[in-house]
């Protein structure tokens, strides 16, 4: 995996998979051109998958499988409680696992639920994808 540039949260995955997230597509293109990697927390994949219809699930599946610009990062047992507590703060729209990964990797979080993300992260590490 090349350098992780940012983390996508559940809201960004849902926007992408429901064709309302052109900003996500643009962001992926930027990272791909710069040679970096986008980290997608496994717990966010689960949450997004559960909320999508078959077509959306297909887009999500191809996103996390068909390009190595995107890397699904695991939630380890030791982090499960921390992720759960962070989810209480930022809601399922963001996902606590996304918060943990952004902090751990010291990268920014790309989200379509910025107000929620800012409950747990400094505004300077939150990329609001709704502002394009």
């Amino acid at each position: 995996m090349t350098e992780v540039r940012l983390v996508l949260d559940t809201s960004a995955l849902l926007a992408y998979a429901t064709l309302t997230g052109v900003a996500v597509g643009e962001l992926l293109t930027v990272v791909g051109e710069d040679g970096g990697t986008v980290a997608v927390p496994a717990a966010c994949v689960l949450a997004a998958h559960a909320a999508l219809d078959a077509e959306g699930r297909g887009r999500l599946a191809r996103l996390v499988s068909d390009t190595d610009v995107v890397a699904v990062v695991p939630l380890l047992g030791a982090d499960a409680l921390d992720a759960a507590r962070a989810t209480e703060l930022v809601t399922e729209q963001v996902g606590g696992h996304a918060v943990l990964e952004a902090r751990r990797r010291d990268v920014f979080l790309a989200t379509c639920a910025a107000p929620h993300a800012r409950r747990a992260l400094d505004p300077d590490v939150v990329l609001d994808l709704t502002l394009r």
Binding site: R5, L6, Y16, A17, L19, V22, A23, G25, E26, L27, L28, T29, V30, V31, G32, E33, G35, R59, R62, L63, D66, T67, D68, V69, V70, F108, D124, V125, L127, L131, R132
Partner: protein, 71 residues
């Protein structure tokens, strides 16, 4: 496994290879990078998005601004 190629390059590109120790590795890396770039564009296009260069440029600016604030 490797295969040997005989290729022709324009002078400006060939000049880049003159400056590296391992031209094969340099070319292999360049091809892998191009494959990465094309793969993500293809995935996004197949999903149904039309990504414009203007949109990519604006997003790159937004990313740069955010990264600059964090330094």
């Amino acid at each position: 496994m490797t295969r040997r190629f005989s290729i022709s390059l324009p002078d400006d590109v060939a000049a880049e290879l003159d400056a590296v120790d391992n031209a094969s590795a340099f070319i292999a890396e360049a091809i892998r990078e191009r494959r990465r770039r094309e793969s993500v564009r293809q995935v996004v296009a197949d999903a149904g998005y039309e990504i414009t260069e203007d949109g990519v440029s604006r997003m790159r600016d937004a990313v740069r601004r955010l990264e600059a604030r964090r330094r």
